[in-house]
Each structure stands twice: as C-alpha cells, then as structure tokens.
C-alpha cells in the first residue's frame, strides 16, 4: 500500500472560539475558520480549487459550504463520519491534493450543537447503524453511559478498585483543564481540582459531569497543498505524515470475546498510522498528541491502545505525570475535547490546529519543547463499528 507521507502539507489553519456561540450561525463559524486559514496561508478564497466540509448535524450537501464562502464551479463535498468527521474532511482534501486533482484544497469542519434546545447532540435513530434502520429498537443509551461500560470493562479486567479508578480518571481531567485554562479559544478556561471532579454529579458511574467533554459550537479549517510547493506559501508548512481512517464492522460486538477493556479501532488505527508515518516508538517519537477525550476513561484507554503506556499500566504513567505539559508526551495540550467541547464535525480539525500551532512553535504558554511530530485523533460511531481517524503531522520532511 502507498503512503501519503510528505506528499501534502498544511499551509494555513483557522479555528473559531469554541463555546456557546448563541449569536453565531453555522455560516458565521465557517467564514471565521476559513478566512483565518486563508490569511494564515496567505491566499484568497478564489485560490481554493476544491473543498470538503465535515459536519454531522449542521448541514447537508456542498451548498452548506459553497453558500457562505461563495464557491462556484469547483468540486465541493460534505463528508460525515460521526466524531471522526473533521479528520475525514482533512483526509478528503489531502487525498485530492495527493492525487493531483487540485493544488490547493480546503477542509472545513463545523458543528452547531447549541441550537437544539437541549444539551447534547441532536437525536438520530439511524446514525451509525444502518442495519437497525428506523425500527427504533436500539438501546437509547447516552454517550457517557456507553463509555461507562468501557470504564467498568477496564476496571474489571485490571481489577481496579472503582474509587481508585475514578480518582485516576480525575487526574486526566485536572490535567486537561489546566491546559485549557491556557487557551483563549477553549470553551472552558478554568482549572479544576481532583475533589471537584470526584464530587461532580454522576452521569453514568464512574463518569461524573466533569469526566465528560462539553457540548459546544465551533469550526476549524485547513488549507492544504502539495508538499513540494508548500514553501512557496510559508517557511514553516506542516507536513502530513499519516492520515488514516480505521473502521470495523461490529465483529467484536456481534460475537463473544471482546471484553470492553480497550477500543479495537483505536488499537489498530494507531498501528496503521504509525506504520504510515514510520513511527516505531510513539512515546519517544511524538512530541505531543491530541486525542479523543470525549470522556476521561477514553483518554486513559487511548494511552494504552496508542502504545503510550504498557497494557494495563496507564495508571503508572498518569501518576508519573507523563501526559502533562511538562511530561514526556504531553496529551491534549489545548485542553482537548474536555475544555473545547465537542462540535463533532469541527473537533478533528481543531485538534489538527493545535498540533499545527505546536509544531510551528506558536502555542504560547502551552508550547511543548522541541516539537517535531504531533498526532491528532478522533473516533466516532457506535461500539463495535467505530471510525477512528488519525493524522500525524511533522514540521520537517522525512
């Protein structure tokens, strides 16, 4: 199989403030993210030769992107892969460039969740399970409860005392809130304490409200071009080392055996991404990572599935501070989904935005030392048939 490594570079990115943006429409968010990316790349809207919009609930068809940005007669497509939608849009734009279909492409991710009238994603009985159709008999389980099931699977497997397990998860939350407090675009910019996390109202045990990511509005965008011409636009383009989507077809939830102590799509998706990027030891070779911390337990499981921690030993690394800003491998340096919230279509590109800024040395108080490679990861869908999107970026070729 071929590889996209070093064929495509990001030359501009934009990201709106995330939060409860009552006074902004989907179009407003798209325009803000896209024009920040244009300005960053030093291009104009008319330079875009193809564009991809990632959104789950906030728009259908190319028109949702073409209309606010006034694209005309260029290829534009809306893509969707649940929570992995933002990475999916970046992947589509990058592959178009890699294929030679266009030289400058735009990826935009947007989601407006706060117009629904309730807190949470808009309802849909069909998302992610075409075989269940609209018979409406799938369990009406909330997202936190889905991840509570993973928590209890993990705790059972490694014989972790529930209270201690909860405290472990709280440390991840405290870490992310610290990082988020340093980012002016984060939805939540405040520190929290272990006690606050431990005492936050339970949503689905062991997950309390503070173990859950926020529900936010937001958009992010990237301008990509051919790696060989990237330096015509800027001195510090960011090269795509890997851009993968890893999915499965419910093999683990249709049959017995899988014990809910890890996420198979994350485990295998990271292996595929590392192979494409040529990474052998992620803990050493990655400078930082933005991972899909929709719920605290998921970030902990990712540490293991991504090879940052030995299997069953994430606890040791959490307690050692490995994933803090000052640690060996800072994770979710911008505060993650925890502090930005999770406007589904935007999240993957928001994560890439942080990796991009870190690799360019422009992350301000959150800046990691000597950055070279960074990873962004989103995963979405239903258990057993998740879509895991990963991109690995670098600030130099090779």
């Amino acid at each position: 199989m071929g590889s996209i490594k070093d064929k495509v570079a990001i030359i501009g990115m934009g990201c709106t403030k995330f939060g409860e943006l009552w006074d902004k429409s989907v179009s407003d968010l798209i325009i803000e993210a896209a024009y920040e990316a244009y300005e960053d790349a030093g291009i104009e809207s008319k330079d875009i030769q193809g564009a991809w919009l990632g959104t789950v609930f906030s728009g259908l068809t190319a028109g949702s992107l073409s209309s606010p940005l006034k694209f005309r007669f260029i290829p534009v497509t809306r893509v969707e892969n649940m929570c992995a939608t933002g990475i999916e849009a970046l992947r589509a734009a990058s592959y178009a460039v890699a294929a030679g279909a266009c030289d400058i492409a735009l990826a935009v991710g947007v989601e407006k969740l706060k117009d629904a009238g309730w807190s949470g994603v808009p309802g849909s009985k069909v998302v992610g399970d075409s075989s269940i159709g609209t018979a409406g008999v799938a369990p009406d389980i909330s997202a936190p409860a889905m991840f509570a099931e993973l928590s209890l699977g993990y705790f059972a497997k490694y014989n972790i005392d529930p209270e201690e397990g909860k405290k472990l998860l709280a440390q991840i939350v405290v870490k992310s809130h610290h990082n988020g407090s340093l980012h002016p675009k984060a939805h939540f910019q405040r520190e929290v304490t272990i006690e606050q996390v431990m005492n936050s109202p339970i949503v689905a045990w062991p997950l309390g409200i503070l173990d859950c990511c926020g529900v936010s509005d937001g958009a992010a965008a990237a301008v990509v071009t051919r790696a060989d011409i990237a330096q015509n636009f800027r001195d510090d383009p960011i090269y795509i080392k890997s851009l993968t989507i890893c999915t499965s077809g419910r093999q683990d939830t249709l049959t017995q055996g899988y014990d809910f102590s890890y996420v198979p799509e994350n485990l295998n998706g990271s292996k595929i991404a590392y192979a494409e990027a040529g990474i052998k030891n992620p803990l050493k070779e990655l400078s930082m990572a933005e991972v899909h911390d929709c719920f605290s337990i998921h970030e902990m499981m990712i540490y293991e599935d991504f090879g940052f921690s030995a299997r069953g030993r994430a606890r040791d690394d959490i307690e050692a501070g490995t994933f803090t800003l000052a640690g060996e491998l800072p994770v979710n340096t911008d505060g993650g989904l925890k502090c930005f919230g999770h406007p589904l279509g935007a999240s993957g590109l928001r994560m890439a935005y942080e990796v991009y800024k870190q690799l360019q040395g422009k992350a301000g108080p959150r800046q990691v030392k000597n950055p070279q490679r960074g990873l962004a990861h989103t995963v979405g869908g239903g258990e057993g048939m998740l879509s895991c999107g990963i991109t690995i970026l670098g600030n130099s070729k090779g």
């Binding site: 269940i132 409860a145 993973l150 059972a156 109202p201 045990w205 093999q251 939830t253 249709l254 017995q256």
Partner: protein, 472 residues
Amino acid sequence: MSGIVAYGAYIPTYRIKRDVIAKVWGSVGVGGEKAVANYDENSITMAVAAGIDCIYGFDYEKLDALFLATTTAPYREKQSATTVASALDLPSHLRAADFTDSLRSGTIALNSALDTIKAGSARNTMVIASDCRLGSPHSEYELIFGDGAAAIVLGNSNVIATIEDTYSVFNEFMDVWRAEDDDTVRSWEQRFILTKGYMETIQQLVSTIMSKHGSKPEDFAKVILYAPDIRSHATLAKNLGFDLQTQVQDPLLTTVGNTGSASALMMLVAALEEGKAGDRILLINYGDGADAFIFCITKEINKIQGKRGIKGHLKSKLILTNYNKYASWRGIIVEEGAKRPSAVSPSVTCLWRERNRILALMGSKCKSCGTVQYPPQRVCAKCRAKDEFEYYKLSDKIGRAVTYSIDHLTVAKDPPAVFAWIDFDGGGRIHCEITDHALEKPSVGMSVEMTFRELYKAGGIHNYFWKARPIR
C-alpha cells in the same frame, strides 16, 4: 377428554401497598398490596410473559390457535394476539383472535378454545388473559385493580385437568364500564350492582350447573370465584354454601388485586398449582353475564414442573414506595420530562421487515463456523461466509452481563436506566436495557433473562422489544 394441558401466569415485579395509595388521598388504609405493571409493561407484554411461562416444556409447534383476552388492548383497531404470537414465535398457521371488552373475556375465550378442541379444528389452543386496568385516582378501584396475566392451553392429550362441564349466561347489565373515551372505569351504585348483578347472576348460574352436573357444594376440592372486591367474595362464597377457609381459592385480591379479565384464570393457575389428581374444581367468572366450568385434575398434573406460575411470581417482588412513580408509569401524572428530542415514530416498514429479529429476538447462527450473532448477519462476523446461516432464537436464553452502565442522562421512566452488554449461554451478544433492574444490583457477570417490553409509543405506534432482567 378435552381439558387443560398446560398453564402459566405472570405477575409484574412491582407491588404497591394499598395503604400508600390511601395515604396520598387521606383515606383509611385497607391493607394488602397490588401488582403494578412496570412503565414498560402493558397487557401485551404481560400476555407474552404468561405465554412464556405456559409453553415452557410444551411443544408450541402443536399450537393451532391463540386467543387473547383483555379489556385493555393497546389498539382500538389492530389485533393484539398477533403481537403476542409473534413474540412467542408461534407457528404461522396459527389462528389468532382477540377476545375483548368484557371482564369475562378470559372464560369466553376459554369456552371458544374448548369448542376448537371438541370440533377438532385445533390440536391445542392457547388462551391468554391479561389486563392492566386503571381506576380513577382516589377511587376504590384505584386501590383494588392490579395487573397480571394467565395462560392456559387446552387440548386432548396429556390432559392435566379435564373439563367436565360448562355453563354460561349473558346479562345486559351496566355495573362497570369504560366508554370509548374513558381511561378509567365507571360504575353504578355499589349496592345495586352487587346485589342484582354479581350475587344474583352467579347464584343462579351455580345452582344450574350443579344440578346439570349432579354435584353438591362439598364435591369440590376448590372453588374459584371471580370477585370485584374482598367483601363481595366472602359474601358470595357463604351464600353459595362453600367453606371459605378450606374450599375457596384465594382470590389474590390482597396480593395482586383484581386483574380484570385475567383474574379468574390466574386463580385457576393458582388452584392447579396446589391441586392433586382427582380434585374437582368449580370456576365461576363474572362480567356481562357469567361462566361456569367444572374441572377434574388428572395424575398428569404431577408431570408439571419448572413454572413460575402464581406462586413463583408472587414471591419475586419489589415494593414501590412512591405513589408518584406509580402515577407516572400509568400516565396519571405527566412529568415535564428531560429536554431531549421527542421520540420519532418508528418506521412500520422497518418493523415489518425486521419483525423476526425484533419481536421473536431471532439472531443468526453461521452454518459454516457456528457463530451466533444478533441481529442476524448475512455476512458472518467471524468467517465472512455469505448467506449461510440459520435463524437462532435468543429470547429463551440465559445471558451474563459483560459490562453495564447506569445511565442518569438518557430519558427514562424509572431512572437511572441500566444498560448492559449481554453474552448468551450458547453464543450471541446483545446490547440492551435491563428492566426491573432494582431486582439485583448490576454487576459484571450477573445473570439475566430476556423479557418482552414496550420501549415507547410514538405516532400512535407501540414499539416493543426485548430487554434483559435479573432472573426472577
């Protein structure tokens, strides 16, 4: 001789003390408790549960008809017996019919079932009576009405209780009724309806069948008397010359309540549970007239085992201490509810296309590698063999929770909702809700059984599916 060949019953897990209800309205307590259908139960789901109990150990391929009796059918127009037959995975040649509207519908159906057996038009006919009636808040009926179901199969072979005689009368009489737009039961003046209706009709009926059959009160080991309330039951027994202590079947009024059309058949199941070969049973049902049956238990009764029946279900219970919760489950109180998207009507087309896997909980078993999968898969999740599978029923399998969640966020009538991934003994895995979850604190590895429930109603469609439940 034709008679009963199988029986079963169902009483919902929840009970409420009558004193709790009385206290809400500032009334004097009357003692006892009544069975309350959970929020996800109705006459249909209870009928399925009684049916499962009844056909346990019975070759249901030999059933040719199913008669469902209820006064609380969920649809005014659309048969209910078909839903029950589908959930029980009964053979498609089955004659399905609803017997409705009358409190006597259970025994009306039983008489019709007897006719099918006698006529030879059915080898075996199952009658299920199930009711979930609502008394107005702050009424006697609210205190006495309970929820439950019973199932009886009639046939000609391996008869456990022969039917020696029957007698029926009809009586156009407005004692209790629900008009087209009534949710709760109305009634005429108690003295009149009990004296001229209940007592007089039954006394005449019993006198007729006893002279027809040539029997005296002391010939009966057990007498089953439908009764609207405890006092009328005792008075009637006395008037008829039966000994309340030794002869008369407990009407279940202080433990289950008056279960309407299911009441007489539930008492019959209770009597069969205690009965021995040679016992003669007199059953009297009342409502728009009256029905009498004389049964004689055979030694086949000794072969019956493994049923929960009335006794088993009575023992397995949870006490609902909160009237508001009861009122919410029955729709007496409409809560504001969570700020969530409202339920959308399920697609009838999808429900029809997937009826087997939804109503009968059919999974698939790969003929190539033997892996059981739910929902049924055309391409095997294990070996990718295409279209090489047979259907495999999961509704009757015991499962174990691989992991679970206690969900405070999702919309629930009995919050917090509990969900679990279940691995079935013999293969297969399902993600579903656990209902009656207070029966046992959820844990990884806990054993569960499947129970047919109503998920929700939207667009006028009752959407049913299976949930797991701690084993009762």
